[in-house]
Symmetry: C3
Subunit: 252 residues, 3 copies
């Protein structure tokens, strides 16, 4: 039973929350989950960190997360490495062997042509993986070459091709990329245009900073999908979604 | 026995230090306390996070902190929710049931009239809770409507009404609120006026950032009460208080 | 066996990485090392934090780190305190008693004359400690009084006197000191001059921020020695060194 049940509160929100695990130890994750597990449903092992961790630890962590119904997947950088080497099939097999049940298909640091991207989404779905794609370039200069219309088209194409969720890139920093300016503030016009021309339930906004989470919740609703949440901020985000922190109290 | 006892050092300081626990797991707290427990005496479970945690975990964490003589209380946001629903008595009962031994009375996100605030302080004292109040608004625009004179009067009124400690709001960020400007730097004139017109031993300055801790210690003394300290920075703060870090070495 | 072995990758780099331990609990370190241990070889217990920790915990943590071939030493602030009291010999004895196997000799917060500094380096080497020295002042105003030529001379003198490694001061913040401007950006001219006039394998650059790590790796090579790495960022740094993160993918 939760504490302070006698107080009215906004109920649990039906949403998607993706947490960034930067290669935490098993016991640290285990203790963290005793409090946070019910408040997120996706754990991403950031970028290529999984390549530096022993298989057994990866498998054990995957089992642990899955025991709480949290899906796991490695950062899209690993998909990019596999694609570059023409080893997408091996990559999906390896995910299965290690016990991952989701995958991210992206081209944040490399280039992939549209057909190949569509094909990768299809294959991922075929082998039963929950399939996320990502739109945006990790390099700010390259990211700026994407117009809003291009982003919208990429998002909607991925969805048509079968992606379960499309991530709008925000990186670990949340600065100078996608909907964020160099200070991490939201570019309102870009946000509006993207939001109004894509299906909200299939878009996940990477929002590592608290001010970004607050503004997205107040602008788009408390059930908006949010990602790249720091493990220390999972409960904080849930309080924001449910009006239990000053920033959103009485406003959600 | 502490390490490096043969070196001269500034002795342990008689002060109050409040740490912000953003809903850490039991085992993480347990391990953290093996090193930090003697260097703080108040743990705040930030804002409304306690409502999202199981009662049993809250109770166990309270016992753990109390075993080291560290008082515990939920963030003032929960008091505000209870007050809004006219359930202050139930709130105090719930605190007792969950094993909290302190309470924060505040109006950072809502409004409470002066009589009711005074009454809440009295009731909290009657039921034996260590009673902190807080002065400041979580919304920067609203916070700016408070003149320095108003802040001073609010602080001194709370103390006259029986508060054990009055917190000067700084939030988790330490920016754009109370004595801090938008970059987290201290507004020297505001600090001086507040400090000179209130009883120093009953005021706790929220100071989440290191530069704020350094400046407050160098300006007001190493025994100044400080709050909203990050769990990773407890030992760092104690080294600042005792001249064991470059910033205050030879100056305290 | 590491995960995703079938993917090509940049091999393990022969380098030095120093991690900043700000007084973490034993079990937290133990869990962290299950994943990170092979990716750093030096752990610094920051500034004077060791004086606030029980001897037994210090000894146990030292044994734990050493079991993974990671050298340990207290921050240079403790050496400065010992030097100020003319207790350098006692200091080296204490390090031995507590099980440290490295030492940092610095004058970041105090003044030490050149002969005494040289003598301390000799003594440290004699008693078998891995000997690091540090160049730079913790106070930004004082640090600015050091010209580039002075820094270069100090570094090379320490090396001639037997130092195993010379640290270029960056502090925990990485701002407004040494090669960094007030925003934490690298001053390219200063970096170039220091780099070109000192032996790269004996210099360790303190680089707490990710953008600093990226730029140093891209400018000076992926095997450049880096220090003051946050415990949460050890794996991230290793992915940067090995092209497993967008910032350096295909560039190292």
């Amino acid at each position: 039973m939760k504490a302070f049940e006698f107080l009215d509160k906004v109920g649990k929100v039906d949403t998607n929350t993706m947490v960034l695990d930067k290669a935490m130890g098993y016991k640290t994750v285990e203790d963290m989950l005793t409090i946070t597990a019910e408040y997120f449903n996706l754990a991403k092992y950031g970028w290529g960190t999984s390549m530096l961790v022993d298989e057994d630890i990866i498998k054990d962590k995957n089992e642990l997360y899955h025991s709480y119904d949290i899906k796991t997947y490695p950062g899209g950088t690993l998909f990019e490495l596999a694609n570059r080497e023409d080893k997408i099939d091996e990559y999906f097999q390896q995910l299965d062997k290690l016990g991952f049940n989701a995958v991210e298909i992206s081209d944040g640091s490399t280039v992939i042509d549209a057909d190949r991207r569509a094909d990768a989404i299809s294959k991922a779905k075929e082998v039963g993986l929950y399939t996320l794609t990502e739109v945006g370039k990790k390099n700010p200069q390259k990211d700026k070459e994407y117009s809003e219309d291009m982003r919208i088209e990429l998002i909607n194409t991925d969805i048509q091709n079968g992606a379960d969720m499309v991530i709008v890139e925000g990186r670990e920093s949340g600065k100078n990329i996608g909907i964020y300016d160099g200070s991490g503030n939201i570019k309102a016009d870009t946000l509006t245009k993207l939001y109004e021309n894509t299906p909200r339930e299939k878009i996940m906004w990477e929002a590592p900073q608290k001010n970004q989470q607050v503004e997205l919740i107040l602008t788009l609703g408390n059930d908006i999908n949010l990602g790249n949440i720091n493990t220390n901020d999972i409960i904080s985000l849930e309080t924001l979604r449910r009006g239990l922190r000053g920033d959103t109290l009485g406003k959600v």
